[in-house]
Every structure is written in structure tokens, then in C-alpha cells.
């Protein structure tokens, strides 16, 4: 039995689903032990029930307003105060902008090992085994912590969420936060759609074949009807058709959606690394020899500007009947 501490995360007033995925992972690690969720910020209170429905027994609410905006120092101080009280046997955090920045810092503070960016967690003979992609998904490795408590960050969109109900205990936890070394002056929300690229179930991605910034419009329309997000190849970013924050590949984001539609992307090995673990890949490209077709489940050889509007109409019909 392990007492597992899980850092949860919300964005724009919504709990991120990776929080629940981390709770499911925690449930496996706990082996009957207690799961303790931590929710930070002045609206953290509202997430207690949903966390409770997904396995959290105790929920530490830290409502300090200073935690409404992420800073390394404030989050680190708050979390350390919880860790010192809870004394967990394992820690999980989301592998998000926050978790990536915070987890290594916490690990260093306590002299802990950390397994980053895990896509699966299993317990084998009492050992907690983490699976993670390496070389952006060209290969995988299984890793465990051999000294100290298991500690990992969980990649969004990979662990299927389980509902695990039980009684919950909500603790409003007081923390002292001081001497912040970084000041966030401004946050500019640049993400186009409402759906975060790394968590999207559907990704519509454009390459050089999209030809211009305007060329992304039909892709966005298609993404909108599927509640998906728009991504891009490095070629499209280099050509300034879109922001680098949309880039998928070995030097960009790695995504694992249920459906990935590659539009006008040839499929360089670096791009494939970022998306080839998607459940279903559809490729649309003029060139029948494009390498993207080798990793696609379904392919259409044709002009994306003809195909995508047709697809959008057709998907609307299918969705109307679901």
C-alpha cells in the first residue's frame, strides 16, 4: 500500500483531464493506499467533487490567490509544504508546462529520482514500472526508481480515466508563500482554438502544402466541428504560416490523439516522431509517394483545399447521426 500524492491542474477555470489520468495512474500505484490530490488557486475548491469521483480520498485545497498564475517559486513552496505534512510514498504530476517546470525542481529539493513524461504505469511484484517514449516516440523505455519514492510526470492523453468513487475529505490548507524571484507581468493566450494541442482527441495538422496562414482556415473549421486542435509541421512553421507553438515533431510537441489528420505534410522522420503513436492517422497529400502514407491508416491522394471542405461537410453528416 502506498500513499500517493497527485498534483492536479486546471486551465481557464476547467480541470485538465490529465489530472484525472494522473489519479487513475495513482490508483494503480497506491495498491489500496490513500490518494491525496492537491488543487491550487482561488477556484480550486470547485474541483473537489470530481477529484473525489476519480479516486482522491483527501483533497488539499490551497486557495492562495498568488497561485492563480503559475510561478516556479510559489508552486514549489506550496507543494513542499504539503509534501512535508503528507510524507507521500509516491508523487505524480501532469507532464504539462507546469509539471515540466516544477517536478524536476521538487525532485532535486528532496534528492529524488524522477521519471518524466510517462505514458503508462504498472505495478509488477511491488515495483512501480513507468513506460515512456524516447527519441520522441521512435522507441520506448521502461524505467523504475531504485532509490527513494517513485515520482513521475504523466503525459496527457495516454492513461484511460477510471471512475473510482468513495468518501472524500477536503482540507483547506494554509501555506506561506514569500520571496518570489520571478514576476509574471502578462499572459497572452495565443492558442487558437479552445482545445489544447497536447490534450486534443483530434488533431488536424498542416504542412507546407497549406501554402499560407490563410490556408490553415479550412483546417481550423474541420478541427472545430470535431472539438479538435490544429497542429503543424516544422515546414509550415518555418514558412511562417503559423506559430511555432503549433509545431509537432521531434523538435516540437509530441501528440497522441485518437485521430490525426495530416494535410499537405510529406512526413519527414522528425515529424513522424511527433505523431506516429496517434491511434488513427489519415493523410491527405497530392504526392502519392509522400512518406506520410506509410504511417497512415487511411490516405487520400488529392488537393487538401478540395478534400478538407468535403471532409468537413461529410463529418458534419456523420456526427449529426451519432
Amino acid at each position: 500500500m502506498r500513499k500517493v500524492l497527485v498534483l492536479t491542474e486546471a486551465k481557464a477555470g476547467n480541470l485538465r483531464s490529465v489530472s484525472l489520468e494522473a489519479l487513475t495512474a495513482a490508483h494503480r500505484i497506491a495498491e489500496g493506499g490513500e490518494i491525496i490530490a492537491v488543487a491550487l488557486g482561488s477556484d480550486a475548491n470547485q474541483f473537489a467533487n470530481v477529484l473525489g469521483k476519480h479516486g482522491a480520498k483527501k483533497i488539499y485545497i490551497i486557495g492562495n490567490k498568488v497561485l492563480d498564475v503559475y510561478t516556479t517559486d510559489a508552486y514549489s513552496q506550496a507543494l513542499r509544504q504539503v509534501i512535508d505534512v503528507v510524507q507521500p510514498d509516491a508523487i505524480l504530476m501532469p507532464h504539462t508546462a507546469i509539471g515540466k517546470d516544477l517536478a524536476p525542481r521538487i525532485a532535486a529539493r528532496y534528492g529524488l529520482g524522477l521519471v518524466s513524461d510517462v505514458i503508462d504505469v504498472q505495478v509488477d511484484n511491488g515495483d512501480v514500472i513507468f513506460t515512456r517514449p524516447i527519441y520522441s516516440g521512435k522507441a520506448f523505455e521502461k524505467k523504475k526508481v531504485v532509490s527513494g519514492i517513485p515520482f513521475a510526470t504523466v503525459r496527457p492523453n495516454n492513461i484511460p480515466v477510471e471512475e473510482i468513487s468513495g468518501t472524500i475529505e477536503i482540507l483547506h490548507f494554509h501555506v506561506e508563500i514569500k520571496d518570489l524571484r520571478t514576476i509574471v507581468k502578462e499572459v497572452v493566450h495565443k492558442t487558437t482554438g479552445d482545445v489544447d494541442l497536447s490534450e486534443a482527441k483530434v488533431v488536424i495538422s498542416g504542412g507546407r502544402g497549406v501554402k499560407s496562414a490563410d490556408g490553415f482556415k479550412p483546417l481550423q473549421e474541420l478541427a472545430d466541428i470535431l472539438d479538435g486542435a490544429v497542429g503543424a509541421s516544422r515546414g509550415a512553421c518555418d514558412a511562417e504560416y503559423c506559430d511555432y507553438s503549433l509545431q509537432i515533431g521531434q523538435t516540437g510537441k509530441v501528440v497522441t490523439p485518437d485521430l490525426y489528420i495530416a494535410c499537405g505534410i510529406s512526413g519527414a522522420i522528425q515529424h513522424l516522431a511527433g505523431m506516429s503513436n496517434a491511434k488513427i492517422v489519415v493523410a491527405i497529400n497530392k504526392d502519392p509517394e509522400a512518406p506520410i502514407f506509410q504511417v497512415a491508416d487511411y490516405g487520400i491522394v488529392g488537393d487538401l483545399f478540395e478534400v478538407i471542405p468535403l471532409l468537413t461537410e461529410e463529418f458534419k453528416k456523420v456526427l449529426a447521426h451519432v
Partner: protein, 254 residues
């Protein structure tokens, strides 16, 4: 201004991964500077040119990693340090401890590093080192300027931009979009040959704690191979109808 840049030599992103008895084979592999670290080197050189001072590039690795340092020196860095990491059981915990031991006692205002390696991709070493040194950190930066003792930084937080102000010293990790790394020039390559490389051994460093790895790799393997896909034929409209049906009833993703 003294700037330290932490770099790692990695597989060229064009390389395919080959496993031999469960271990990644390095024979015949082309090695490069981790692409994210190139942004760090470029930014360091630009800041030094603006504010004066010195750029020191640091790496832990086998002998071949010296090539990465030579490239960084040819780009314009002033000096380099290589810490021999061969035959050592090191993970991110250990590497941060080693770097902390090397950096402590040296003067620095700024430490730069790529936000992750394109090989193992954990992105831990930067923030871990900042904690070891008890200095501030700003990760995944896309813009930076320095005014006296203050840095104004833009960072990428999963697509959102944050404008951050921080006092020096600070450790930053670099993200795509920060700059266009330069190619080494021929005179740069010639000059690099005369620039100093300091060679250190882990056993010669002082540590307060054990630096033995806290984690271990149990297995390395390939993802299951996908079956060849299906390229549709016929009238474009029919293809689109077919694909919508396939996604709905066969793949069940709609």
C-alpha cells in the same frame, strides 16, 4: 557578463534507432548538438556581444562529445568544459549534481540550456540544477533581454506567452522560436582550435551527496509496427464519404 551554457551531444534527428541486444546502437550514427541547445548557444553569444563577458559551454559525455564543444566554440563561445561521463551510472539526478559541483565556485550571471534533449526528452537537468544552485529559473523561453541586473523574458507555456521579469542570476531553458542558430564560419572553426577546453573527471569533483542514479532503465523496445494503411481510390467525393464511414464504423474515432 559570465554566461554558462549546458549542452548535450545527441543523435542527429534524421537517424533511425537501431537496437542491439536491447541497447541502442551508436555505430555509424551521426551526432549533433541537441537542437534545443543550439538556441542556448546562439542566445549566449548574442548576449555576450551586447553586454560583454564570456561564454563557457559545458557538457558531460564520452570523448565524442568534445566535437559538440568544438562546434559551439566555432559558433563563437569562448571556452569549454567537458566532464568525462563514460562508464558511469548517471541519471538526471546525478547529472544535475555533477553540473552543480562544476558550476559552484565559478562566477556566472546566467545559465542557458535547451529545454529538453531530443533523445531522452526528460527536460529535468535545467530545473534540477537551478534548485541545486538555489537560483531562479525560467523554462521554455522564446525571447530574452537583459537590462542591468534584470532579465525580461517571454516564455512559451503550452502555446500561451508569459512575460516574466526576473533578477540575475537565473537559469533559463530555451525553446524553438528564440533565435536562428548560426552556422560556424570558417574563421570561427579555425579560431575554435585554439580555444581552451578544460577536461574534468567525475571522480575528481567534490560532492556532499551520493551521485548514484536514482532511476534505472529496465527495457528499451520499439512500439508495435503499424500495418500498412489503405490509400483510397475513385471519385474524390466518394473517397471522402468512404473515409468518414471508415472512421466512424471501423476505426470508431468519430
Amino acid at each position: 557578463m559570465n554566461i554558462l551554457v549546458l549542452i548535450k551531444q545527441t543523435f542527429d534527428t534524421e537517424e533511425k534507432i537501431i537496437l542491439q541486444k536491447g541497447i541502442i546502437n551508436e555505430d555509424g550514427v551521426n551526432f549533433i548538438i541537441n537542437p534545443y541547445d543550439e538556441f542556448a548557444i546562439e542566445e549566449a553569444i548574442k548576449l555576450r556581444d551586447l553586454h560583454g563577458g564570456e561564454v563557457t559551454v559545458i557538457t558531460i559525455g564520452p570523448e565524442r562529445a568534445e566535437n559538440a564543444l568544438r562546434t559551439a566554440l566555432a559558433m563563437g563561445a569562448d571556452k569549454a568544459i567537458i566532464i568525462d561521463g563514460e562508464d558511469q551510472d548517471l541519471d538526471e539526478y546525478s547529472i544535475a549534481k555533477v553540473l552543480a559541483a562544476v558550476v559552484k565556485g565559478r562566477e556566472f550571471d546566467l545559465i542557458l540550456s535547451g529545454n529538453l534533449g531530443v533523445d531522452y526528452g526528460s527536460g529535468q537537468v535545467g530545473p534540477r540544477l537551478a534548485e541545486e544552485l538555489n537560483i531562479a529559473q525560467v523554462t521554455t523561453i522564446t525571447y530574452m533581454e537583459i537590462n542591468g541586473e534584470t532579465a525580461i523574458i517571454e516564455r512559451d507555456a503550452e502555446g500561451d506567452k508569459e512575460l516574466v521579469e526576473v533578477s540575475l542570476p537565473v537559469l533559463v531553458t530555451t525553446q524553438q522560436g528564440l533565435n536562428e542558430p548560426r552556422y560556424p564560419s570558417l574563421p570561427g572553426i579555425m579560431k575554435a582550435k585554439k580555444k581552451p577546453i578544460e577536461r574534468l573527471k567525475i571522480d575528481d569533483l567534490d560532492f556532499d551527496d551520493d551521485i548514484k542514479a536514482k532511476t534505472t532503465v529496465m527495457e528499451t523496445y520499439f512500439p508495435p509496427k503499424k500495418n500498412a494503411g489503405r490509400i483510397l481510390n475513385g471519385d474524390l467525393k466518394d473517397q471522402v464519404t468512404e473515409i468518414a464511414n471508415l472512421l466512424h464504423s471501423e476505426a470508431k474515432v468519430l
